[in-house]
Symmetry: C2
Subunit: 267 residues, 2 copies
């Protein structure tokens, strides 16, 4: 049976609320996902939350009721509470009627099976949580294996990232590594490292991509450091027609990845 | 000479601060852009702010000094103030050292010259200001003419949109219209209306695009209404490889637009 919480100062309420903060997420090894759509997607991937919180209205949906029952059967904590307390937990004025706290997966490179997909995203110092989530969502759509975050990226388990990923956080692999760990790992197996850059004449539409292809996306304002470009097997350029000389990082990642896939489909 | 403002309660400070609000933007016919990069891009397009506010440090940059002088020569208002007051004006903790308030352009359909570009974006009920700005930025990169916002979209002149557009708000055309104004306008001249949809088998990579091509992007969560799909000359589908069945709206717009351009380049 779900336990009922009616106090704002309840310790579980405080702990969940704290998960909006990176330090607390690390400490508890948990992250938050909101809403039936994402929580159902996670369940379809075999992932249940350690804790699920909901309003009576939220639990009334048959799919929600099913996931709540499965979470309890798996030993998870189920909490029924008021919309106001859910709102406090999620930090949103209009909270979703369902919140899940999930165990953070292992994000070491050893958890990545490069043979499982032909395209991988590699993000370097990505600072915008929305971009990270959008790249994960795109990765799911394009059939990528996941996203490897290099150096000091924003936390992939933030509420903003989970939301922008639309559930792809549960379907895509995620690793975090320093560049000097990533490069030796990459070179221990198959893998073409492809950088998007303005410092090349190779058009992204005609480039000789090889699977598994690791698409390296640079920081939102600085792009890739020269040393990282030099380590690439291939640099490709998306030709710019206008006044600007750059695309949003998640857009550049998507345009390149769909081109890579389209290139292979046409062979 | 710039006038100095040292009071938080100055009426100009209050007016600029209010421009974060859509109603005030409408009332004053102004919108805000922050930072030298965007303000310089606007100037390169021949657009100077009606009011420019800066700290002494901001004015020290030679390019900023040039734009401040040009703004004054054109009859604009130049204001030197403290970083704290700039921060109040922009609503940001770390304000840019330079803020401009620009006249909102005419956004009627009659301001759009469809023969000036081969690709146009049309957004239907886009709610996310970041998506609108990112589509404008992508439009600049792909050589589009601009973005036509249909029905109840977020305001294209919000601070978030201007920021995400990275200056493309000044290089791309922008119109706002109801669907029942847009469609007759479109049919009064050349123009292929292309919808991205799951309700078709036409692969976006092999479709017969014709210029000027109007790419219709649906609302972030609902996609296009059936009536709008029915009005399209062509529906195309971006094949999905993963669990999810959709892309972020700005990503779908970019992937399709770059494919259209690539299709034409290869003819």
């Amino acid at each position: 049976m779900p336990r009922e919480i009616s106090s704002f100062s309840n310790s579980t309420v405080k702990m969940i609320r704290a998960l909006r903060d990176k330090k607390a997420r690390r400490e508890h090894g948990l992250f938050l996902a909101e809403g039936l759509r994402i929580i159902a997607e996670a369940r379809d991937e075999g992932q249940l939350p350690q804790l699920i919180a909901f309003s009576e209205k939220g639990a009334a949906h048959p799919l929600a009721a099913e996931i709540i029952a499965e979470t309890e059967a798996a030993g998870g904590d189920a909490i029924v509470t008021s919309p106001d307390i859910l709102s406090k937990m999620s930090g949103k004025d209009n909270p979703q009627m369902l919140l899940g706290a999930y165990a953070q997966p292992d994000t070491s490179l050893s958890a990545i099976d490069r043979s499982s997909a032909d395209i991988w995203f590699v993000g370097e110092k990505l600072r915008d949580p929305g971009n990270i989530g959008t790249i994960l969502r795109t990765g799911d759509a394009v059939g990528a294996g996941g996203l490897i975050l290099i150096d000091d990226c924003a936390d992939p388990f933030s509420v903003e990232t989970v939301r922008a990923s639309m559930g792809a956080l549960f379907t895509q692999g995620i690793a975090q590594a320093r560049w000097d760990e990533f490069l030796p790992w990459l070179r221990c197996g198959d893998g073409q490292l492809v950088g998007t850059s303005l410092n090349t004449d190779f058009d992204y539409a005609d480039a000789p991509y090889k699977a598994p292809c690791f698409l390296l996306i640079g920081n939102e304002s600085q792009g890739l450091p020269k040393e990282y470009e030099d380590a690439c097997d291939l640099l490709v350029k998306i030709p710019m027609a206008g006044k600007a000389d750059s695309l949003n990082a998640a857009i550049a990642a998507a345009v390149t990845a769909f081109q890579v896939r389209s290139h292979w489909r046409n062979r």
